[in-house]
């Protein structure tokens, strides 16, 4: 009996290792494959949302143009923001969580591999659902913050806003499931000796971000439920006629929205906190301080939301409190910046593309941080609110911070994923076109904003005298678009023909570099023991770890079964949410049946091959 069992298991292994067909991707529960799917999908949406940005920039290049109608313009800026945040920046960070965290902590997979696959499919279907609104000509049009009154049925009739609120609800499910998964993985699946204060910074920031996900997403979830009920079932949460208050939406949205900013930025901070020490050949300066600063940012991030609402008129006491809290949160952020600089100080620096993007982040994000402190002051904020100054600020933070950090991570970890380097020549082109294009696009917007150019309006008057800033921004946007094309070309070219990379091409200190590139599907033949923060930089420890991680096992470790229930469950979850658009109680209630069926079958399915 047992020999037959072993044979089956071995056959499954060989088939798993070699299987690269479409079905193997659809049913995969391997965190590394899910990571690749996340990255490819997020990059696809990056181009989709980028195209909308280009259309916006062409429309705004000259005053009083009519290339795009106001209605279409509203849809474009709404979907540009919504897509970039929920379908690009967040899932691209999750791609790195998926690939890197299990390898950094010495685990074979995440805690819940099938739930991980579910997160991906829900994200994909939610993203496709959201974008399908363009096909029926009813794309969301009330901006990514979806302020109430604008989203109420009398001002937003039709399905546009329904697509938005249902799409975001679907995506929220993926985020919460992801947060639960990574918290459990990091708490419970670290290699022996990997104490919390030995974890690489990227794992630490994934941990903090996951907590923000599971706590912030429910708040916007409730807000979206209220919005859906107001639109479809006649409640009066945001309807002043019934006693409701549109400002409630603003509170709920920003209680979620500010932590969301840190959900976007902390993963990037994690990436460069791993990249900068590697290319400085020095341990991270003040490791515990960087960790605590990250925790503090995550914590204080909950108490600053009303700095988005200074123009609402909450009163001087509330305003003062939120001004102070917002200024205070700049301190741990500044501390991190000093730690990165101190890490480079006196190090033997190597400016690879990953390092360039990291240093670029420190420079550009600092500009965004400084403009942030400017409008943290309520009186200044009143001048800058809803102008292009704010547009400049948050692009410096989210593109210059989050996206540049993720691109640093792309160049850093690509050799691990593929066993080949990304081209450094194209990489440097990618970096410099990004720096030039990005700054040319967004720096002039500070001036356009100060001179009074309002955001979210499809054109502007020639009398404002902001033409030159808009023309520079439009030229910059096309250079920035070119940088994205260079990146895509580099990915395609290097995936097949990149220069071969060894297990630890950068001489980096963490566990993910102790295994072959690309890793086996089981990651670690046996789990190594860790004794320090930089295990591969300590001579005795490195040899002991490599003896374990580089060996070929006689029998391969048993890995979880592939499963098609994640994709089916994701489809049924998307279906029930999409049916909410009908507003018919019993249709929605009936659609719970396929969800329950899929959950049931999922629960019945053995997660591992027989006998394990």
């Amino acid at each position: 009996m047992s020999s037959v069992g072993t044979q089956t298991v071995e056959q499954q292994h060989t088939s798993h290792e070699e299987d690269t067909g479409l079905w193997s991707w659809i049913t995969t529960v391997d965190h590394k494959r899910i990571a690749i799917m996340y990255f490819v999908t997020a990059t696809f949406f990056f181009f989709v949302a980028g195209a909308k940005a280009l259309a916006i920039r062409v429309q705004l290049m000259f005053p009083e143009q009519e290339l795009i109608t106001p209605e279409v313009y509203n849809q474009f800026f709404t979907m540009h923001g919504t897509t970039m945040i929920f379908l690009v920046a967040m899932p691209m960070a999750v791609a790195f969580f998926n690939y890197v965290v299990p390898l950094q902590i010495g685990a074979r997979d995440v805690a819940f591999p099938r739930l991980n696959a579910l997160s991906y499919w829900v994200f994909l279907f939610g993203g496709l659902y959201l974008n399908s609104s363009f096909i029926v000509g009813a794309a969301p049009h009330a901006s990514w913050v979806g302020y109430a009154t604008l989203t109420m049925p009398e001002f937003s009739p039709g399905q546009n806003t329904n697509f938005w609120l249902i799409g975001l609800s679907i995506l929220g499910i993926a985020s919460i499931a992801g947060g639960v998964n990574f918290i459990t993985t990091i708490i419970n699946m670290r290699a022996p000796g990997m104490k919390l204060m030995r974890m690489p910074l990227f794992t630490w920031m994934t941990f903090v971000t996951s907590f923000l996900l599971i706590t912030a997403i429910p708040v916007i979830g409730v807000a979206l439920i209220y919005l859906g009920f107001d639109r479809l079932f006649g409640t009066v949460f945001f309807q002043p006629a019934g006693g409701g208050d549109p400002v409630l939406w603003q509170h709920l949205f920003w209680i979620f929205g500010h932590p969301e900013v840190y959900i976007l930025i902390l993963p990037a901070f994690g990436v460069i906190s791993d990249v900068i020490p590697t290319f400085s050949k020095k341990p991270l300066f003040g490791y515990p301080i960087v960790v605590y600063a990250g925790l503090l940012i995550g914590f204080i991030g909950w108490g600053v939301w009303s700095h988005h609402m200074f123009t609402v008129g909450l009163g001087p006491i509330a305003d003062s409190f939120f001004v102070a809290a917002t200024m205070i949160i700049a301190i741990p952020t500044g501390v991190k910046i000093f730690n990165w600089i101190a890490t480079m100080w006196g190090g033997s620096l190597k400016f690879t593309t990953a390092m360039l993007f990291s240093v670029g982040l420190v420079a550009v994000f600092t500009v965004g941080g400084l403009s942030g402190i400017m409008h943290a002051s309520a009186p200044v904020n009143l001048q800058q609110h809803d102008t292009y100054f704010v547009v400049a600020h948050f692009h410096y933070v989210i593109v210059g911070g989050a996206m540049m950090g993720l691109w640093a991570g792309l160049y850093y970890w690509f050799p691990k994923v593929r066993g080949r380097y990304l081209s450094e020549t194209l990489g440097k082109w990618h970096f410099w076109t990004t720096m030039i294009g990005f700054n040319l696009t967004f720096f002039p917007m500070h001036f356009a904003g100060i001179f009074g150019m309002p955001r979210r309006i499809y054109t502007y008057s020639a009398e404002l005298n902001v033409d030159i800033y808009n023309q520079l921004a439009t030229i910059g946007a096309f250079i920035f678009a070119l940088s994205a094309v260079i990146m895509a070309w580099n990915l395609v070219k290097s995936w097949r023909g990149g220069e071969k990379a060894p297990a630890n091409p950068w001489g980096a200190p963490h566990l993910e570099w102790s295994i072959p590139s690309p890793p086996h599907h089981y990651n670690f033949p046996a789990i190594p023991t860790v004794q320090s923060r930089e295990p591969l930089w300590n001579d005795g420890e490195r040899e002991a770890i490599l003896a374990v991680t580089m060996e070929e096992p006689e029998t391969e470790p048993v890995m979880p079964n592939p499963s098609y229930w994640p994709i089916l469950l994701a489809a049924s979850i998307t279906l029930i949410w999409a049916l909410v658009m009908t507003g018919i109680w019993w249709v929605i209630a009936l659609a719970i049946l396929p969800v329950i069926y899929c959950v049931f079958k999922w629960g019945m399915e053995p997660a591992f091959p027989e006998g394990h």
């Binding site: 685990a107 074979r108 805690a111 819940f112 739930l115 919460i176 947060g179 639960v180 998964n181 918290i183 459990t184 708490i187 419970n188 699946m189 670290r190 290699a191 022996p192 000796g193 990997m194 104490k195 599971i214 706590t215 912030a216 997403i217 429910p218 708040v219 979830g221 409730v222 439920i225 209220y226 009920f229 079932f233 006649g234 409640t235 009066v236 949460f237 019934g242 006693g243 409701g244 208050d245 409630l248 709920l252 046996a526 789990i527 190594p528 023991t529 860790v530 004794q531 320090s532 300590n538 001579d539 005795g540 420890e541 002991a544 770890i545 003896a547 374990v548 329950i596 049931f600 629960g603």
Partner: protein, 198 residues
Amino acid sequence: MAQAAAAVDDHGHTTTGISNFKVGFWTFIASECLFFGTLISTYMVYKGRAVVGPYPAEIFDVLITTISTTVLLFSSLAMVLALHAVQLGKKKHAIMWLLAVIAMGGIFLGMEFNSYLKYIDYGLTLGSSTFGSSYYVLTGTHKVHVVLGMVWMAVLIWLIARNRIPPAKAEQVEIAGLYWHFVDIIWIVIFTLVYLIQ
């Protein structure tokens, strides 16, 4: 200082010693706390803002709700006993107690829906006022949680009847119990804030 690192198997992980399933579920419950926290806060802010009646004090029948709350509380006791029976391998007892959980959940829901009908008669609907909107969405969300819990219990009964939950797998029932107790505690909070402190 570096000593030779020894290879260990999966079970040598640095961990809490609590199973992944349970850690994950506690994390989910933390997320649910924020969810209900937001719903309850909205209710507290909004109940006093209703510009038209009926108002809470006019329609709530604390006695009836106390009875239904007590029934739900006792269902948690039945849940504890069901888990105990599963851990001891007492299949019939386990099924009996789980049926009791479902029955008490059903009585709770029945009484609550009866109250809903009464409130609608008084003119309190989803759209009548901020009180109506926030009351029905808060308590309705809780009821959806109760219904899903009952479905979960029914599946557990089916599994136990087919001998698929031996004492070694009692954790499956324990997790369902965690969920049920959580839904119960949320109701205690709602009962206190919505019905007792009007």
